[in-house]
């Protein structure tokens, strides 16, 4: 009998935000349903309800017609549901096999772990995935991509009828993405129900059977993948035509002289990078995960140690010992991981915005709180951050708003930024806010600031930057001006032997 | 549900806190808890001779009006010479303050509670948990409360400051256990205690006088000394030095066989005694015979356990200052190498102390006039050396009965 998963009019509210408002849809066995929508549209809340991590205010989930209620995540596991979150749920000090079998370690006799069975079961799964990992390896010592695969193997081992993926491909290299898609295809044949949350249009079109679009916690529509296209989806998601998102970006185009030049920079993960950034230029950095772009920028910014190489800013040779030096010289970095490296969740928006310019908001020996408030108010207004006041804790805001706080921090009135480095500024942000971010990037350039724009989404990098540098494995593989840049050309530079899988992807 | 449990828990704790604060038998809010029983008329009964040790012969019975030397009749509770009838005056409130919870102090508290009816006073107990700063503040608190007298263990490390504070309150006080001396070494506060050096020396002296009964006629040059110490406390340090000095006086040639073990690295308990003794005894097998001197009983008990594990019972003799642990061991049938200890009975401390304090509170005696007959040359006031006894397995029961009889309580 075919499996049926039904979400019946689920609602969930957080203080000040209606995360889910009467959402109802169903997914039959053997089909992949993609979940798309702006961040804050309620996708991750839906998954948390499915996994039993949180309970809905109204409505519920039923499987094969039977209503389910999950007091704890354990109940959802027993109902044969497993969810793979963005943040990995692994224990780094333990072995791969123990992480995969986790709560169901095979037991023999009075509770003793049957290690031979454990090793055999793990090797079986490793063979299915075809990964060069040994069962006894310690997870902490694996590459980021392999760690994500361990997470996915954990769900596969549970052999749950319903499997949900939340942005699984972000840390994966293309070899792993290919393995993942082959696995999902196999799961479909075995009649499993797959929920797939992603912002990558290409992936969604390639793997899903239907696409469910959420907006502001409400179900907009659900489309059959075969009978829809990218533009229609985006319109559903943001109700605005994406076509001209990049077209009506008013750019300054008065690119001045060389602001920052880097000569054969060597650092951890960076093998001899050289480039120049001009005043008022938006310099895009394209490449796949692990190409070394973040490592390059962190080395320049002084966050990680430089092994060798020369950096000159406005003609002067500089070496930033620490982020403190970089900021003093007008270089700013928006980190890739908002929660871990960007925000102090426990402090107010005002505190987070004034962090790098504390010495400039002082009145005598003390901090001038009023000046801070005006700074924060200005940022809230310019970036349209949804918050009742600037005293609200940063932790209580949505992902999109949190990203805006960090942008506001580095471009506040008191920051005389010369070089602004944005590392995946639109990661995990809804399409609507992305458009605003692109306009902001151009505005910064218009002010004469040199902007470095790192992104893993090709269309974004190509259309926003004036010139694009492509990196792979810590080296620059090519420079392309926006006019001649096409996705195919940039891709060719960005990848090497994964030609075949990328073909299918585009 | 969790909230309800938390509320119940809060109420339970508030109630038990309230109960804690009511545990004082005699809340010092002035109401005497029980009317004082009339004391026997101060008949001039001749005090029984105090047992072995520094007893003085009694002098002529004093007349009521002259301020006479209280020391002459120090051991008898029935009679004290301040001439004021306890029942005729209102109840004195005294504070008995000491530094850390110890068995001896607790016994003194029980003795004080027993004497309250006779001398018409109430006792409030305070333990400073080895925090001298807290002790000083407590003295100020109680002087604000208007208590009548202090019976206090003055910590030797800050005796000058504590004396200064006590004098500042103008309230009569008596020191217990530790002497209070100025730079010249002259005693400046009337104190009931035992000289550290004497106590340490006497225990070794007894071992030296009696070792033959245990080991027979052995070559004296073979005897070594394991001498425990807890240097931060001046009193324990004096006992350590006293034992060492007397040992070298008796056996000058054995200088190389003297080992001192300072327990400063561990807690004041049996485990530290065991760790130190076992290591030193095992590390020096060449020393054939051992005297072990314990400035604190718990260290000697640790040594006793170490001797048992190393089965060296036949060549080690252990002694200690203090008689709270060993008698209990003997009651339990112990007959090991811990053969003797210096007995400090609580009554022998309490009675002279409280009598001196009451005399001062009655205004009939001043620190200088107390125990003049017992004053050591060069001391401004008297350090009242408590008479003690060296207990062994056979005489300890009889000794304790005798003390009760002497104090008129039996």
């Amino acid at each position: 009998m075919e499996k049926l998963l039904e979400f019946n009019n689920i609602s969930k509210a957080y203080p000040g935000v209606q995360a889910l408002d009467d959402v109802g849809f169903s997914v039959k066995g053997g089909r992949v349903a993609a979940l798309m929508g702006e961040n804050g549209a309620g996708k991750s809340t839906l998954l948390k309800i499915l996994s039993g991590d949180i309970r809905p205010d109204a409505g519920g989930i039923s499987i094969d017609g039977k209503a389910q209620s999950f007091e704890s995540p354990h109940r959802s596991l027993q109902a044969s549901i497993s969810v793979i979150y963005q943040e990995r749920q692994l224990v780094n000090d333990m072995s791969v096999m123990e992480n995969i079998f986790f709560e169901d370690l095979p037991v023999s006799g009075p509770g003793f772990v049957n290690r031979s069975e454990l090793r055999r079961g793990t090797q079986e799964i490793l063979d299915v995935f075809g990964l060069p990992i040994k069962p006894a390896d310690i997870v902490g010592r694996l590459s980021v991509a392999h760690q994500q695969m361990v997470e996915i193997m954990k769900a596969y081992r549970r052999d749950s009828d319903i499997i949900a993926f939340d942005e699984p491909t972000a840390p994966l290299t293309d070899k792993e993405i290919d393995i993942l898609f082959r696995l999902i295809a196999k799961l479909k044949e075995r009649g499993k129900i797959i929920l797939y949350v992603s912002h990558r249009m290409a992936e969604v079109f390639r793997i899903s059977d239907e696409i469910i679009v959420l907006k502001d916690g409400r179900l907009v529509n659900s489309f059959e993948t075969a009978r829809t296209d990218e533009a229609e989806l985006v319109r559903a998601m943001i109700g605005r035509d994406i076509g001209d998102t990049y077209a009506n970006l008013n750019r300054s185009d008065n690119i001045g002289d060389v602001l920052l030049s880097v000569k054969d920079l060597v650092a951890k993960g960076v093998h001899g990078v050289s480039f120049e950034l001009r005043r008022g230029e938006v310099l895009g950095f394209a490449g796949l995960i692990g190409a070394g772009r973040t490592e390059t920028m962190r080395a320049i910014f002084g966050a990680d140690p430089i092994i060798s190489g020369e950096i000159t800013l406005e003609g002067k040779k500089v070496r930033f010992r620490s982020p403190k030096d970089a900021i003093a010289n007008g270089v700013a970095l928006c980190p890739e991981d908002r929660k871990e490296q960007g925000l102090v969740l426990g402090r107010s928006i005002r505190d987070n915005i004034s962090m790098p310019v504390l010495s400039k908001v002082k009145k005598g020996p003390f901090l001038d709180v009023r000046a801070e408030e005006s700074l924060a108010g200005e940022a809230v207004r310019t970036y349209k951050i949804k918050t009742p006041s600037s005293e609200k804790q940063a932790g209580e805001l949505s992902g999109g708003n949190q990203q805006k706080i960090i942008l506001g921090r580095w471009t506040s009135g008191k920051m005389d930024t010369k070089v602004l480095i944005l590392d995946e500024p639109t990661k995990g942000i809804d399409v609507g806010t992305k458009a605003e971010v692109y306009q902001m990037v151009c505005d910064f350039a218009g002010l004469g600031i040199g902007v470095i724009f790192i992104s893993s989404e090709l269309t974004e990098v190509i259309n926003v930057s004036d010139n694009i540098i492509v990196m792979r494995d810590g080296r620059i593989t090519g420079r392309v001006a926006r006019r001649e840049a096409t996705e195919e050309r940039v891709l060719a530079l960005a990848m090497s032997d994964y030609q075949e899988s990328m073909e299918r992807m585009v | 549900m969790k909230k309800a449990v938390a509320v119940i828990l809060t109420l339970l704790m508030v109630f038990s806190l309230f109960a804690c604060t009511q545990t004082t038998e005699n809340t010092p809010s002035g109401s005497p808890s029980q009317s004082p029983t009339p004391t026997p008329t101060p008949s001039a009964s001749q005090p029984a001779q105090s047992p072995a040790g520094g007893g003085e012969d009694a002098e002529t019975p004093p007349s009521a009006d002259t301020v006479t030397d209280v020391s002459a009749l120090e051991n008898t509770i029935g009679f004290f010479s301040s001439g004021v009838e306890p029942a005729s005056r209102d109840t004195y409130e005294i504070v008995w303050a000491y530094m850390r919870p110890m068995a001896l102090f607790q016994n003194i508290t029980t003795a004080l509670k027993e004497l309250e009816p006779q001398l018409n006073f109430t006792t409030t107990e305070y333990c400073a948990n080895s925090d001298i700063d807290a002790m000083i503040q407590t003295i100020e608190i109680y002087s604000d409360q208007g208590v009548d007298g202090f019976m206090i263990v003055v910590d030797p490390t800050a005796s000058a400051r504590i004396k200064e504070v006590l004098d500042g309150t103008g309230i009569p006080y008596v020191a217990m256990l530790n002497s209070v001396r100025d730079e010249t070494g002259s005693e400046i506060v009337p104190c009931v205690g035992i000289e550290g050096e004497i106590a340490g020396a006497e225990t070794i002296q007894w071992l030296y006088d009696n070792y033959k009964t245990y080991w027979g006629d052995i070559d004296e040059s073979e005897i070594g000394l394991l001498d425990f110490n807890f240097s931060p406390n001046v009193d324990f340090d004096d006992r350590h030095n006293g034992s060492k000095a007397r040992f070298l006086e008796l056996l000058p040639g054995n200088e190389s066989k003297v080992f001192s073990a300072d327990g400063v690295s561990g807690a004041l308990d049996e485990q530290t005694g065991y760790d130190l003794a076992s290591a030193i005894l095992a590390a020096n097998p060449d020393v054939k015979y051992w005297f072990v001197a314990g400035c604190i009983e718990l260290y000697s008990q640790g040594a006793a356990r170490a001797v048992e594990t190393l089965n060296m019972d036949d060549r080690v003799l252990i002694t200690a200052v203090g008689s709270d642990v060993l008698p209990a061991e003997w009651d339990g049938g112990y007959d090991g190498s811990w053969v003797s200890c210096l007995a400090l009975s609580n009554y022998q401390y309490t009675i002279p102390g409280i009598c001196a304090l009451v005399a001062q509170m009655d205004g009939k005696a001043t620190p200088e006039t107390l125990w003049q007959s017992r004053r050591a040359p060069g001391d401004q006031v008297t350090f009242y050396n408590v008479s003690y006894g060296l207990l062994t397995r056979d005489n300890y029961k009889e000794f304790f009965e005798q003390v009760l009889v002497d104090s008129g309580l039996a």
């Binding site: 980190p335 960007g342 402090r347 | 545990t23 700063d133 409360q145 490390t157 000058a160």
Partner: protein
């Protein structure tokens, strides 16, 4: 203005003030002719907070920055012992000796910070080793186990002197310290950096604050205040004491946590700390004034701690205690 008032009503300080007032009322009612609130006794209470205040301020800053320091008590004893030794054996003026002793506190603090930042030791273990073993042992070695009399009049005046015969200098020093550090923490850039480092160390680093430098400064400061506490303790006793402030650290940390600092770091302030100190010292003082038997006093102070934690649980609607900070309800 009303915004500030109801912000205060909801805040942690309000529940502390309520607890304090209830306690004072209880002891006032039961103390002999209401002497608990007598002027003398209030001075006694403040007097007993002096040493705890210095350790709670030094240790509190370290806790807000996300670490913990168990060594200031032992460092204080070591500093006191050195002061006694120097005053007795050398002719140095007392001010020079005091500065040298504070420097010793700073050195111990820097060693702590070096172990934690460079050798990546856990702060509980590193400060336990530096404090109770090394600083404790150092104190004994310096004075060779003997307690030395302190006869210097200036030190004696600071320790025991009273302005206008009533207010002891030590209270003025400790109040000044907690007020100054309260202002620094709440109002200055340095204070804000302490909170930011405690909240998210990496985020602070990426915005130009150096958490490593902060850690060195805070541990050095905690060492210095620990040394100051030791000096005041010995000045009050006019003797170099060897057990001194060793066992003052745990009650000081307890008072700080009672006052709203969470061991996970990132929140709490000096006003809360001061209220926590007042509650604990006022409570102990009250027990002494009532003449509660000493052993029940220990039981009562343990119960007070548990009661305060339960009240904190009841007032904090549902959010868990220190361990789970950062579990923000992100959508």
């Amino acid at each position: 203005m009303t915004k500030r008032i109801n912000k205060f009503l909801r805040s942690k300080h309000f529940s502390l003030v309520v607890l304090l007032v209830m306690m004072i009322a209880f002891f006032w009612a039961f103390s002999k002719n209401h002497s608990y609130l007598g002027l003398n006794n209030i001075r006694n209470i403040l007097n007993s907070t002096v040493i705890y205040t210095l350790l709670a301020v030094g240790g509190g800053l370290v806790i807000i920055a996300g670490e913990i320091d168990l060594s200031p008590g032992y460092v204080g004893t070591a500093a006191g012992a050195v002061m006694a030794a120097l005053l007795n054996s050398t002719g140095l003026p007392w001010l020079v000796v005091v500065v040298m002793c504070l420097a010793i506190g700073v050195v111990f603090g820097l060693i702590n910070a070096f172990l934690i930042n460079e050798l990546k030791l856990q702060s509980f273990i590193a400060t336990l080793a530096i404090g109770s073993f090394i600083a404790g042992g150092f104190a004994y070695i310096v004075v060779d186990g003997k307690t030395l009399e302190i006869k210097n009049d200036a030190i004696a005046l600071i320790g025991t002197g009273r302005i206008g015969g009533f207010v002891p200098y030590t209270i003025i020093i400790s109040t000044a310290v907690i007020v100054i550090y309260g202002v620094i923490l709440a109002k200055t850039k340095f204070g804000r950096c302490v909170y930011l480092c405690g909240g998210n160390r990496e985020a602070a680093r990426l915005t130009g604050i150096s958490p490593r430098l902060m850690s060195y400064i805070l541990f050095a400061n905690s060492g210095m205040l620990g040394a100051l506490a030791g000096l005041l303790y010995d000045a009050r006793l006019k003797a170099g004491n060897l057990t001194g402030t060793n066992h003052y650290v745990f009650p000081a940390i307890t008072a700080a946590v009672l006052g709203g600092l969470s061991l996970g770091g990132g929140n709490g302030d000096m006003l809360g700390c001061f209220l926590g100190l007042l509650i604990i010292s006022g409570f102990n003082n009250g027990l002494v004034v009532l003449g509660v038997s000493p052993f029940w006093q220990n039981v009562a102070s343990g119960l007070l701690l548990l009661l305060a934690l339960t009240l904190d649980y009841l007032t904090k609607r549902g959010t868990k205690g220190g361990r789970a900070h950062g579990k923000a309800a992100g959508v």
